[in-house]
């Protein structure tokens, strides 16, 4: 029973990070109808920036901020310098280009930092705090929860209560009409990419201290897991991404705990197949087609 509780909390923490990452994927999907296969590589690149900045300044938090900024910058760059020029008539094109970016990013990181696992320290204690004799969450886990909560709330407020958010939603739902209303649709798309990459960078910063170490391929499995989470929730639904993330996090935790941590990729594959074959539109998607 102890183990189950422990795995549950561990899974929740994992899940919340996956939720953030899945949100980033949903953001770009809604804005551009693209699954950003480069999301993981972009996140890991941002974390490497934090690594360098932290090494130079000695401060984790400055590095953290640098990672977020790097994410924003990278997202902007990818949209403006690459995705703008892709022929979107076939959905495969953007996927292939994103995969090319993955190769490129991972290679550049490998050349700059090497392919060994670099240690990433957590800013707060990762020892579990005991409540009533049960070892539950650590300070770091609480930090993770808080960080993701802040991001989710901030994004929700941004999209529903600010003019920028309204423009972004309009640009995503009805780009031509939005242009007629004076909305800079291209700019909103770039903003979407920047935000998504920033959120991905945050997720990367949160998850990597719990992984083996920093490595160009470190976010590959996280990407696939988050993709699974986004699909579970329905690619169109931010709420679904959050729920999906938590669900996938829990499942992975139980599988890792009871079967073995090396089997996690297998569990993800099985889960992804199951969802796509049983409920391909996800649990929360609105089946309503976009009409004007």
């Amino acid at each position: 029973m102890d183990r189950f509780v422990f795995l549950t909390f561990d899974g929740l923490v994992r899940g919340v990070v996956l939720a953030a990452f899945a949100l980033a994927l949903v953001l770009i999907w809604r804005a551009a109808r693209i699954v950003n296969f480069a999301q993981g590589a972009m996140a890991v690149a941002s974390v490497y920036v934090a690594y360098s900045v932290t090494a130079a300044t000695g401060s984790y938090w400055i590095g953290f901020a640098a990672a977020l900024l790097a994410g924003l910058a990278l997202g902007t760059l990818v949209d403006v310098a690459v995705m703008r020029f892709v022929d979107h008539s076939s959905p495969l094109n953007a996927v292939i280009v994103a995969l090319g970016l993955v190769l490129l990013l991972q290679a550049v990181l490998g050349m700059t930092y090497g392919n060994e696992y670099l240690p990433v320290a957590a800013p707060l204690s990762r020892d579990a705090l005991s409540i009533g004799g049960l070892a539950l969450l650590s300070r770091y886990d609480l930090f993770v929860f808080a960080a993701v909560l802040v991001v989710v709330v901030a994004l929700a407020l941004l999209f529903t209560r600010t003019p920028v958010g309204l423009r972004m939603r309009a640009a995503a739902f009805a780009p031509q009409v939005s242009r007629l209303l004076g909305v800079n649709v291209g700019g909103m798309l770039t903003l979407g990419w920047a935000l998504a990459a920033g959120v991905g960078a945050l997720a990367g910063m949160l998850v990597l201290p719990t992984e083996l170490g920093l490595h160009p391929n470190a976010m590959d499995l996280v990407f696939v897991s988050a993709f699974t989470a986004a699909v579970v929730g329905g690619l169109d639904s931010p709420a679904g991404a959050v729920v999906g993330g938590v669900a996938v996090g829990l499942i992975l935790s139980y599988v890792s705990g009871y079967v073995g941590s090396d089997t996690a990729p297998i569990a993800v594959l099985v889960l992804l197949l199951a969802v796509l074959l049983i409920r391909p539109n996800g649990l929360f998607s609105s089946a309503q087609a976009r009409h004007v």
Partner: protein
């Protein structure tokens, strides 16, 4: 993205008189039509002769590289048919190559443990490798048949990531991170005592590649090939025309998986070992890059792609050798520069020339000789 005709098609179209002859097969009840099969056999025979001569001319290391190209070609050819002609984007073909490779390794171990020798051993191993990857392809294909676009890509990416997990989970049989090594017989005695091993490797791999090319060339020109394209272009229309869409999708996957399995098996034979590191997600992305840059849907493009996979790392190695670098830096560059170039090339090609090398060559040829027109595919945009 446009699809280009296969090698040899250009020659057909120069005179209108030959067009009806090519269109109406001599024996219509044969699945492939007599003339197409014969033509392809002749081409393969010609290629075999030329390549045979090449293996006598090349030095051992180049023969080894030629063998590697041939092994990759098996995989790229199958993948370009699946993705280019049938529209299914698979990021998991590295895993299918792994399936073939590991099967070959295990079969070789098993057979040599029992004292079996001779070329037959290799044939059996490779055959088993093809069979296993074919089955794996069938399983994935059945699941994939209902998925489209990014969903299919995501699932096959998950498949690609499963390889190291499987190797470690079943490390008793599969050898974990270290992988497996096995024994491959030297060239048969009939070839003489001084027959270079690398030439033998090249012969094995080239035999596999030629077989794959023959099979796929005929498949592409057959009714099945037309079904593949029809499904890719417009599923609804294809279904209305009586094509069983799901079956076509699965078959395409199975065929490409078998080819990938052969390629993986050959790679294993060349290295006399397998390990999860050799069949990572990166390999799947390499294959994708190869077929896109070569030209999606084109078998000639698959050849370009396979060549690129071997030549580019060679070139980057030559470049890095020019500079005196610390060994650690040199190692980093050696490992990653090809990746960077592959990735960059993929991005640039997709934006600038989505049809790949083959398309560029076709356009150049058209400019030089306007009479040499390839049949414009309905896929041209």
């Amino acid at each position: 993205m446009s699809v280009i005709g296969e090698p040899g098609q250009r020659v057909e179209q120069t005179t209108p008189a030959s067009a009806p002859a090519a269109a109406a097969p001599a024996k219509p009840h044969l699945p492939w039509g007599g003339s197409t099969l014969l033509r392809h056999l002749a081409l393969v025979a010609l290629a075999a002769v030329v390549l045979l001569g090449l293996t006598y001319w090349l030095e051992p290391f180049r023969n080894y590289q030629l063998a590697t190209v041939a092994a990759y070609l098996c995989a790229t050819a199958g993948l370009t048919v699946l993705t280019g002609l049938n529209g299914q984007l698979s990021l998991g073909h590295g895993a299918l190559m792994a399936a073939g490779a590991y099967t070959v390794a295990l079969t070789q171990q098993m057979l040599t443990d029992r004292g079996a020798t001779g070329v037959g051993v290799l044939v059996v191993s490779l055959g088993c490798g093809v069979l296993v990857s074919l089955l794996a392809g069938a399983v994935i294909g059945v699941a994939a048949a209902r998925l489209r676009g990014p969903y299919l890509a995501g699932v096959t990416l998950a498949v690609a990531l499963v390889v190291p997990a499987l190797a470690i989970t079943f490390d008793g049989t599969l050898g974990g991170e270290q992988g497996l090594s096995f024994y491959v017989d030297p060239p048969p005695a009939a070839l003489g005592p001084y027959f270079p091993y690398e030439r033998w490797q090249a012969w094995l791999a080239l035999a596999g590649a030629l077989l794959v090319m023959l099979l796929l060339a005929n498949l592409v020109r057959s009714r099945f090939g037309r079904s593949l394209r029809a499904v890719r272009d417009d599923e609804v229309a294809a279904r209305l025309a009586g094509i069983h869409v799901a079956r076509t999708q699965v078959l395409a996957f199975v065929v490409s998986a078998a080819c990938a399995g052969l390629g993986g098996g050959l790679l294993a034979v060349l290295a006399q070992s397998v390990s999860p590191g050799a069949f990572s997600m990166t390999l799947s992305l390499f294959l994708l890059m190869a077929i896109v840059v070569g030209g999606l849907g084109s078998l000639a493009g698959a050849v370009w792609g396979a060549l690129l996979l071997v030549i580019l790392p060679e070139l980057t190695h030559l470049i890095t050798e020019q500079f005196t670098l610390a060994p650690a830096t040199a190692q980093r560059l050696d490992g990653n520069l090809p990746l960077a170039l592959f990735g960059g090339t993929l991005v640039v090609v997709m934006i600038v020339a989505p049809g790949g090398i083959q398309r560029v060559l076709v356009r150049l040829a058209r400019r030089i000789d306007p009479r040499r027109r390839t049949a414009p595919g309905p896929e041209e945009r």
